[in-house]
């Protein structure tokens, strides 16, 4: 009984007529929190600008990018990028205290900004940072927050309809925030399509100041240990992903997946049990509790296709499944399937791909 999904669908209040209290009627505009850390914008923020643009157009309001950090020039660059991806204006909060992400000062500035400029909708990436911040901001503002959405829409009454997977991905539910503003949601990376940047598109910059003092901030960042650039950092963004499941049978056979990925210049990963067995690192888990991927080609070898895996790969343009069991659920959502032993087919595929691609090199 203690979470937002445990109510029966269609229960009494869901059908209640919505009457937004007077003091919330002034809440306008759609905001996207731009995650800018260690000198780079998280791609999910640009995906959200694309989605936010659609919502703002539907509501006939402006789309704003919210940019917090330290160093005005860098933040202005982020604002420019945000304009080219669809923002009409950017709020810039520049303060040395905001140099590294910490919950306390970020919650403070976000809350103050909302109170001053009153957005109707606020979107954040369902990243570690976004989820940490969104939970604290929503509680401070005492408003609703829907986590990890996969679909956003505006219903007839200007209400945000946020759809999210629940129960580990086996169900979807659509959630509304009635009677409270802003309506907040986080969205997982790679779920919304990346919009095309429009060069030369511009917007207004609004500088916002909050009185922050380092001495007042209880938590200190002592160190930051970056993930090594080559290790799985790119998996979510790879064009081609090859993944293995329990059907690989031994940890050694994970190499077969890596070889095929190498031959295709792609990246590799696996299902959750492989992480649990210690065959692959956690960063390479694909699915509901791992990475969401959106490659042009996804090859699943020896993966049954449980719902928790499925939700992480559904966005792929072409899903190819290799499984010995013709009744495996993965064949229900793959585009191309083959009933075959992955352990013998993977090396054959690697050889065949290499051959086809090298033939052309000679011809060219």
């Amino acid at each position: 009984m203690s979470n937002q999904t445990s109510r029966p669908a269609g229960s009494g209040r869901a059908n209640m007529k919505r009457e937004l209290p007077e003091h919330f009627r002034s809440y306008k505009h759609v905001w996207v929190f731009i995650e800018f850390e260690h000198g780079r914008i998280h791609p999910v923020s640009l995906e959200l600008l694309g989605e936010g643009r659609k919502l703002a157009d539907k509501l006939e309001v402006e789309l704003a990018a919210v940019i917090a950090g330290s160093g005005h020039d860098a933040l202005e660059e982020v604002a420019k990028t945000s304009f080219s991806y669809g923002a009409d204006l950017a709020y810039i909060i520049d303060d040395p205290v905001l140099a590294d992400y910490r919950n306390e000062p970020y919650t403070r500035v976000m809350t103050a900004l909302v109170e001053k400029y009153q957005p109707e909708i606020m979107l954040l990436g369902a990243t570690v940072l976004g989820r940490d911040l969104a939970g604290a901001v929503a509680t401070t503002l005492k408003t609703g927050l829907t986590a990890d959405c996969t679909e956003l829409a505006i219903d007839g009454e200007r209400s945000l309809a946020a759809t999210r997977p629940t129960f580990g991905g086996s169900l979807l539910c659509t959630i509304h925030t009635l009677n409270y503003r802003p309506q907040m949601a986080t969205v997982r990376p790679r779920v919304m399509a990346m919009p095309v940047a429009q060069e030369g598109r511009t917007g207004r910059i609004v500088d916002f100041k909050v009185d922050l003092k380092e001495e007042d901030i209880i938590t200190k960042v002592l160190d930051f240990l970056p993930d090594t650039a080559n290790e799985a950092a790119q998996l979510a963004f790879a064009d081609i992903v090859v993944a293995g499941g329990i059907g690989l049978r031994t940890s050694e056979n994970v190499q077969l997946v890596r070889d095929l990925a190498d031959a295709l210049g792609g990246d590799w990963g696996g299902s959750r049990p492989l992480v649990q067995k210690g065959w692959i690192p956690a960063e390479r888990q694909i699915g509901q509790t791992g990475k969401t991927i959106r490659p042009r080609l996804y090859i699943a070898a020896g993966i049954s296709g449980a719902i928790q895996h499925r939700v992480g790969v559904e966005g792929a343009d072409l899903i190819v499944a290799i499984n010995t069991d013709p009744r495996a659920p993965i064949f229900d959502f793959a585009h191309v399937g083959i009933t075959a032993d992955a352990i013998t087919l993977l090396p054959a595929l690697t050889r065949a791909f290499r051959q086809r691609l090298s033939v052309n090199r000679m011809a060219g």
Binding site: Q4, E37, A134, F224, L297, H335, L357
Partner: protein
């Protein structure tokens, strides 16, 4: 030292289905477990208690049957267990849940001593929101340390704590001041097997049961459905795609022949990908 651990009783795995006619969630007959991420919080709490002394209190807000999960937590070695159960909490979303839990923590603090650390799991496996931990932290004014993969050090005299926090691009090493709210990542520490003595004690132990009146909830209107800004309008199963996979024929084929047939299929469906791969291979 007082450590509180919030746990939640959740249905085991994804066996949940929607009733095809009534469109309600069917939970009947699905076995329940302690949310796995909460066990990482519990184990961390027990380790700190073993090292620094003090008490570990496990708590939950839930239906009466959640007593089972609390008793289970006692078998791992928690010192006491408290259940907050009352009909007024039914239908709580994360905001209303964090309100109830923060009041439970305040009451438990008055009763046994204010907590130095409150642990939660990083998220639950049924709701997946990761919002209740931050909600509790905000309401109680505790420093919020989420996605913690390990506690490196703690100093009770200076009241400082040193943690590692997993981010999207790396690990932050943070120092904060007790009291804190920590949500634990998976894989941080496997939960111990409790001792025989723990099991015996757990079987006999009283699980403290409180209701809204006992903990003195200041505003019942902030609980349950009424106190939940988010409203579930629709619950549905993901739609199965109409057509299933096109199967590549395999009868009597060698792995090489199967590979060729499969690649033909892939390139027929994705000519642009083929072009790009060829261009890439040619070094352009």
């Amino acid at each position: 030292m007082q450590i509180f651990v919030c746990i939640k009783q959740v249905p085991d795995s994804g066996q949940i289905r929607v009733h095809p006619v009534t469109n309600t969630i069917m939970r009947q007959g699905v076995p329940t477990i302690i949310n796995p991420y909460d066990l990482f919080g519990l184990e961390q709490a027990l380790r700190l208690r073993d090292r620094f002394g003090g008490e570990v209190t496990v708590m939950t807000m839930g239906p009466p049957m959640a007593v089972d999960s609390l008793r289970k937590a006692l078998t791992y070695g928690a010192d006491r267990a408290v259940l907050l159960t009352d009909r007024v909490f039914a239908g709580s979303d994360t905001l209303a849940t964090s309100y109830a839990l923060s009041n439970l923590i305040l009451k438990a603090g008055e009763t046994w001593g204010a907590p130095d650390i409150v642990f939660c799991g990083k998220q639950t496996i049924d709701g997946d929101t990761a919002q209740v931990g931050p909600g509790i932290a905000r309401r109680l004014g505790l420093s919020q340390l989420t996605y913690v993969s390990g506690i490196d050090d703690m100093d009770l005299t200076d009241r400082q704590i040193l943690v590692r926090r997993r981010g999207d691009h790396g690990v932050q090493v943070l120092r904060s001041q007790l009291p804190v709210m920590v949500t634990m990542m998976e894989g941080s520490n496997e939960i111990r097997r409790g001792t025989q003595a723990d099991a015996l004690r757990a079987a006999r132990a009283e699980v403290v049961q409180w209701n809204a009146a006992t903990v003195g909830i200041p505003d019942i209107g902030l609980c349950g459905l009424r106190g939940s800004p988010t409203v579930v309008k629709k619950v549905f199963a993901p739609t199965a795609r109409e057509e299933t996979a096109e199967m590549v024929p395999t009868t009597d084929s060698s792995p090489a022949a199967m590979a060729d047939a499969l690649i033909d299929q892939i390139f027929t469906r994705q000519p642009a990908l083929q072009d790009d791969l060829l261009r890439q291979a040619a070094g352009h």
